[in-house]
Symmetry: C2
Subunit: 190 residues, 2 copies
DNA sequence: TGGAATTGATTCGAGATCAAACGAATATGA
DNA sequence: TCATATTCGTTTGATCTCGAATCAATTCCA
């Protein structure tokens, strides 16, 4: 602090655009998100040590298992990862012999990805993606708290990404699946 | 839509591991976070087009402005970015002549980073970090809703990262500054 | 004083991330 | 039929991300 007084109000050249004070909120939101992202990334690296898979790799592996033998584009939509990125992830998964690429005979542009036996085995043995501490704290919450937490995260996600659904192509319908969890006001703006 | 009924309950190959149903919550939470991350990343790339700075670069620039001429380690803590990462970001910022590194004369291990005139100018002209749509929706919320949203995000961040505060070193005290916003129960676990 | 431990920053290695550009295959329309 | 458009996956280029290892400077203790 104390510094603060040295630099008056810092000349807000960029217009407030919203309510005064809202800017700080934005920065705090961003800061919280940054911390979340970082924590998940760090957890991902620990995962590598314990089972040889990174977070995105494990998420991808799970999605492949869930979807059967999806095409890359479908998989990309499912896990919210761009096709370009997914290509690299699948490359590394394939290098470890956990998945296999197959050209679709009907539509030869398509590549389907499927788990190998080793992949299934690895998947079955893989630890959870989130920190144990998070999971136990989560378990300690009341149902409505959990629901509210998820709901808030999904709300933020919607507010942020609905606008920019560009990502390579990604035109297909909404992928939202927020279980039943009523959507609240649902402010369908725009 | 319609798809929904096609995919029953999705064959859980991986064992539940906790309370049944809890896993789905985790996956949904993770999915929401992934979407948030992606949206922010995409926004970051748009930022580059509009002002030549990426999100992390802008965040860093702002923190430098706010802190005066911080050392890299302090800056690292402030923006929740590892020192290794920050070195690269500052490199690129320096390459653009927006900041300057200076060796601290008192402690010559330290490097302080400060804004150049060009950096200040760029910073003043930089657009907000979050999507306009997000910002306007945020502005449309009631005060308590905004507070609840921030509070939830911070709570999630706490639940996730308090455990893993390794990040190179990062031992110093809490950096939290969530303005006044009373912390609620404050569950000082551990 | 002088070696050991600590701290600050950088470098290295690996992976994730996206957009844009690309080549190949399929679909569409004239 | 054939040219054009669209879709699919990959490649390329740039950044971000971290931990671990490393080098330099400082502090600590004997």
């Amino acid at each position: 602090m104390a510094e603060r007084s040295t630099r008056p109000i810092q000349e807000r050249t960029t217009a407030p655009a919203t309510t005064p004070g809202a800017l700080d909120l934005e920065e705090n939101i961003l800061a919280a998100i940054r911390r979340i992202v970082r924590a998940i990334d760090i957890q991902s690296r620990k995962l590598v040590a314990s089972c040889g898979l990174t977070g995105p790799q494990l998420v991808t592996l799970r999605a492949i298992d869930r979807l059967g033998s999806p095409s890359l584009t479908l998989l990309s939509r499912e896990v919210s990862i761009g096709k370009a990125t997914l290509t690299g992830i699948v490359d590394r998964l394939e290098r470890q012999r956990l998945v296999a690429r197959t050209r679709d005979s009907a539509d030869r542009r398509r590549i389907t990805v499927s788990l190998t036996a080793a992949g299934e085995k690895t998947l079955a043995a893989a630890p959870p993606l989130l920190q144990d501490r998070f999971r136990s704290e989560l378990a300690g919450l009341r149902d409505w708290e959990r629901a509210a937490m998820l709901s808030t995260l999904q709300r933020v996600a919607e507010m942020l990404d609905a606008e920019d659904l560009v990502l390579d192509d990604l035109d297909a319908g909404p992928i939202l699946e927020s279980d039943r969890l009523e959507r609240g006001p649902a402010k369908r703006s725009s």
